[in-house]
């Protein structure tokens, strides 16, 4: 990027860090913004700036939201007695797409990963236990990924949850092992939920 003026080179560099953006696309986007009306570039800059400032984690389920309590947690039409536990915020969307699940969620923000040094303290586990201890929860569905890490996380949570007098279930492994739930389609996910088994 030695030939570009510094501000342009900097933008190209930043864009290249984004997932799915290669050097060519980064250049294309940068030049597009250069030529675009000033307001368009400013709107984008503002949206990016707002993203981290305005978004936060739901104080109940840890989903990404712009309020104290997210839309799902404050939706009175959903039932409190079932909590579906997922690893990442986008996994929640995979379950939502099935339109079959009307309970609540809990986002762990990761999975146990000894190889990456991610232990229970790095995950949002305590909040889940507190919610179950708070009463009214009859079933916790463990919808972590069907990987060694996801299985380990489910097994760990099951050990902590079972003494709390709650039914603990695991989504069915019709989802191939080693796959990321991020990529599971609605049908696969719906089947996984429906076929869930007592842990």
């Amino acid at each position: 990027m030695a030939d570009y003026p510094a501000p342009l080179a900097r933008l190209v560099d930043e864009l290249r860090r984004l997932p799915g953006v290669g050097p060519k696309s980064a250049q294309r986007i940068a030049f597009h913004l250069l030529k675009a009306p000033k307001e368009e570039a400013e709107r984008l800059a503002e949206a990016v700036g707002q993203l981290q400032q305005a978004l936060r984690l739901c104080s109940v389920c840890n989903a990404v939201t712009d309020r104290e309590v997210c839309a799902t947690c404050s939706d009175a039409s959903r039932v409190d007695r079932v909590i579906c536990v997922v690893e990442e915020p986008h996994n929640l969307l995979a379950v939502e797409r099935t339109r079959d699940f009307k309970g609540r969620y809990h986002v762990l923000h990761g999975a146990l990963s000894p190889l990456q040094g991610i232990g229970p303290d790095e995950l949002k586990v305590q909040g889940l236990l507190d919610r179950v201890r708070g009463g009214g929860v009859e079933e916790v569905i463990l919808a972590t990924s069907p990987t060694v890490e996801g299985e380990a996380t489910a097994a760990y949570l099951a050990r902590l949850l079972k003494p709390l007098a709650v039914r603990v279930t695991r989504i069915a492994m019709g989802v191939p092992v080693g796959s990321d739930l991020e990529w599971a389609d609605e049908v696969t996910m719906a089947k996984a939920l429906e076929g869930r088994r007592e842990y």
């Binding site: 079932v82 092992v177 939920l193």
Partner: protein, 274 residues
């Protein structure tokens, strides 16, 4: 150019871009190698569970011999160390630890048949249901020994005398167990029972060793950990995670279990979602 074909154990993998992974393999023929697995992520993950830790696979690797990064072609799953739902928390944790341990002790591009066979035997023993704590001590002891880091159980480390029967006295200055003449040893001391358990480890297949007593296992764990830390000049990441998981599980064991009546009053089966 035809691919290099080899049997291998998957040590770990990490994400590369949107659709690929870099996989670290312990191959039988070429020791530890890294390879890019294109299409290992995403909707059409062509490798399925083959890239999970300690899967035994047969791979085709593209790239020049001794390349820093190969490209992974075929990857046939011969045996999964972790079939879905078939193993519990302890096994999952142990497998990750074993993979990290093997990774840390293996050098890239240097085939070590003994290490490869050791790793296979350990995975097989997990499958046969051998206690994973015992397998952890076994793997540590043998990896240390194969790297020339395990002190002799028979000879004093600082004089030609044999070691007396009974406890083993470790002396840090001598990097080994010392006789009473060469003492006093800095410690730790391993009991006679721990010593004979170690001899069982060095004389038997992993599935034949059996579990150690609680005290023996604990003292071996910390002894091995010190040796490993000194060799690697760092702690393994999984050590802390395993400790925290064990602590979390212990934390709930104090909570009273449900009695049968309470358990029966819970909803049994609910196939339809709320």
């Amino acid at each position: 150019m035809p691919p290099i074909s080899s049997d291998a154990l998957v040590l770990r993998s990490y994400k590369l871009g949107e659709t690929s992974k870099v996989v670290v393999l312990l191959t039988r023929e070429r020791g530890k190698v890294r390879a890019v697995a294109k299409g290992a992520r995403g909707r059409r993950n062509r490798y399925h569970s083959a890239l999970e830790p300690l899967s035994e696979v047969r791979v085709g690797l593209y790239g020049r011999q001794g390349a820093e990064l190969y490209r992974l072609g075929e990857c046939e799953l011969l045996r999964s160390a972790f079939p879905a739902g078939a193993r519990g928390l302890d096994e999952a944790m142990a497998l990750s630890y074993f993979a990290e341990l093997l990774d840390a002790f293996s050098l890239e591009g240097e085939a070590e048949d003994a290490v490869y066979r050791l790793a296979l035997a350990i995975v097989a023993a997990v499958e046969e249901g051998s206690p994973v704590t015992a397998l952890a001590r076994y793997l540590e002891a043998w990896l240390l020994r194969l790297n020339g880091l395990y002190p002799s159980l028979d000879r004093c480390a600082s004089c030609p005398r044999g070691l007396p029967a009974g406890s083993l006295e470790y002396h840090a200055g001598a990097h080994g167990f010392v006789c009473s003449e060469c003492g006093p040893a800095s410690g730790p001391a391993l009991t006679a029972g721990t010593g004979s358990y170690l001899r069982r480890i060095f004389g038997h297949a992993p599935s034949a060793v059996g579990a150690a007593g609680e005290d023996e296992s604990a003292s071996l764990e910390s002894f091995h950990r010190d040796l490993i830390r000194r060799h690697l000049e760092r702690d393994l990441r999984s050590h802390r995670v395993l400790r925290d998981v064990a602590r979390g599980v212990r934390g709930v064991q104090g909570t009273p279990q449900l009695d049968e009546r309470e358990r029966d009053s819970l909803p049994r089966e609910r196939k339809t979602l709320p």
